[in-house]
């Protein structure tokens, strides 16, 4: 296999890794906020259910969750899903898992907000929704950015777990090529690509943090 071919294959794998990364963030960030609300709900049943969900998501390996989501429908309901199911299952499992982590981060940010902000907003006439989205949430975002950055960087590397479902993202391809060529080089190349991917993400997060730095 020529160097060029190896590179193109790895790059297409990288493309799929990036796909997983972006879609997971797209779904898990909003879902995490909903889960955080559930975690802080006044309803004890809702609170309890959400607590159990978060506990399982954070307490079991993501790889196992991937297998559970992928094979679940077949073993539980005898459903045979089409070829798109592999990718869909991956996105579902990743999003649901990461939503749990983001939920706890959101919750820590929201609970650290001084009650005086809510009180001032209330007397100034803001509705509960407006208070949350105009006053509280912008401040929460700034506070939780370092924790969110951590999770995002972890996600970049976790995309390689899709390997367990034989999904051809970059790590899978690297392994295949390495086996075929009996060479370690594809792994090195993959490592380099992950590193560059991560560097770009870290740079992006830093820019966001700087942009929010106009106040303390």
């Amino acid at each position: 296999m020529s160097f060029q071919v190896i590179m193109t294959q790895l790059l297409s794998g990288l493309g799929r890794s990036i796909e997983i990364f972006l879609l997971t963030l797209l779904f898990s960030l909003p879902l995490g906020l909903l889960v955080a609300f559930g975690r802080m709900s006044r309803n004890r049943v809702v609170r309890g259910l959400v607590w159990v969900y978060i506990s399982i998501m954070r307490g079991t390996p993501l790889m196992l969750q991937l297998l559970a989501v992928y094979f679940g429908p077949f073993y539980i309901a005898g459903m045979k899903l089409g070829s798109m199911w592999r990718f869909t299952a991956i996105i579902i499992a990743f999003s649901v898992n990461y939503a749990a982590y983001f939920a706890e981060i959101y919750r820590s940010g929201i609970e650290s907000m001084p009650p005086g902000q809510y009180e001032a907003a209330r007397i100034l006439g803001y509705s509960k929704t407006s208070t949350f989205f105009r006053i509280i949430f912008p401040q929460v975002v700034k506070r939780i950015l370092p924790s969110v950055t951590n999770e995002v960087i972890t996600l970049v590397k976790d995309t390689s777990l899709a390997f367990s479902l034989a999904y051809a993202e970059m790590f899978t391809i690297a392994k295949q090529i390495a086996a075929k060529e009996t060479s370690f080089m594809p792994f090195l190349a993959a490592a380099l690509f992950y590193y560059i991917f991560n560097a770009i993400v870290a740079f992006g997060m830093e820019r966001i943090e700087k942009a929010m730095d106009y106040y303390t």
Binding site: G116, A120, R122, L124, R134, T216
Partner: protein, 247 residues
């Protein structure tokens, strides 16, 4: 407010207090810490719920506690309508740190009172000018001193044209220098005949600005009347409280 009672768990903070403030009247509330002064303000502005009694604004009963203990409070739009009658200036300002000084003042006007942005900005700049802070319009709260922050907080409350302004120890977090600038602003508001209720430890200020003063201790009103009546009153607890302050 009529016959207010408020307890936190076992601790009865307000035992039986009735208060009335008329249009344009300035009422000062003085007393030792723990006497229930701040709690009174928080009950008046509905940040806390009362255990018994009733609260009326502009002649209308807005919140009360049923004899059976059930508390009836306005919600949603009705709550916002009631809140538009009054404003509250906090001891620790509670400005919105992610908004500029100008936006802190204009946002409630534009978003809650639905006033046009240009009008809101004009009024905000006028208010800031009156406070001597026009050049700080683009600054953020983290860049202001305590006195400046408190003056912005007062402007923010004033911008909504409340009928009555509550002040919860507005200068307690400020050093004597900054206290002066804030008191000057509050004095100028009295000239505008806005009704005000001020909880304060600044005795001379309270004496000079008020139409009415009440001295609270352990959840009840011990002395009330005009400033002269109250400060000269032959009340042992109060005199010892005042004496302790005037060292």
């Amino acid at each position: 407010m009529n016959h207010i009672r408020k307890a936190f768990g076992d601790l009865e903070v307000i035992r039986d207090i009735s208060l009335k403030v008329d249009k344009g009247e300035v009422l000062s509330i003085i007393g030792p810490s723990g006497s229930g002064k701040s709690t009174m303000l928080r009950c008046a502005t509905m940040l806390e719920t009362i255990d018994s009694g009733e609260i009326c604004y502009l002649g209308e009963r807005v919140a009360w506690a049923e004899p059976g203990g059930e508390k009836v409070y306005p919600k949603g739009d009705k709550l916002r309508q009631v809140c538009s009658c009054f404003g509250l200036v906090f001891q620790n300002f509670n400005l919105f740190p992610h908004y500029s000084v100008l936006k802190n003042i204009t946002d409630p006007m534009v978003h809650n009172q639905k006033r046009p942005k240009s009008e809101a900005v004009q009024e905000a700049m006028d208010l800031l000018a009156r406070m001597g802070l026009e050049d700080k319009a683009g600054s953020y709260p983290c860049q202001l001193s305590g006195g400046q922050s408190q003056r912005v907080a007062i402007a923010r409350a004033l911008a909504l044209n409340p009928k009555i302004l509550f002040f919860d120890e507005p200068t307690s977090a400020l050093d004597p220098e900054l206290t002066g600038e804030v008191l000057k602003v509050i004095r100028s508001l009295a000239d505008l005949h806005i009704a005000m209720v001020i909880v304060t430890h600044e005795m001379n200020f309270a004496k000079g600005i008020s139409d009415h003063v009440i001295f609270m201790d352990k959840g009840v009103v011990e002395v009330e009347g005009t400033p002269e009546e109250v400060f000269e009153a032959d009340h042992e607890r109060m005199q010892s409280f005042l004496g302790r302050l005037e060292h």
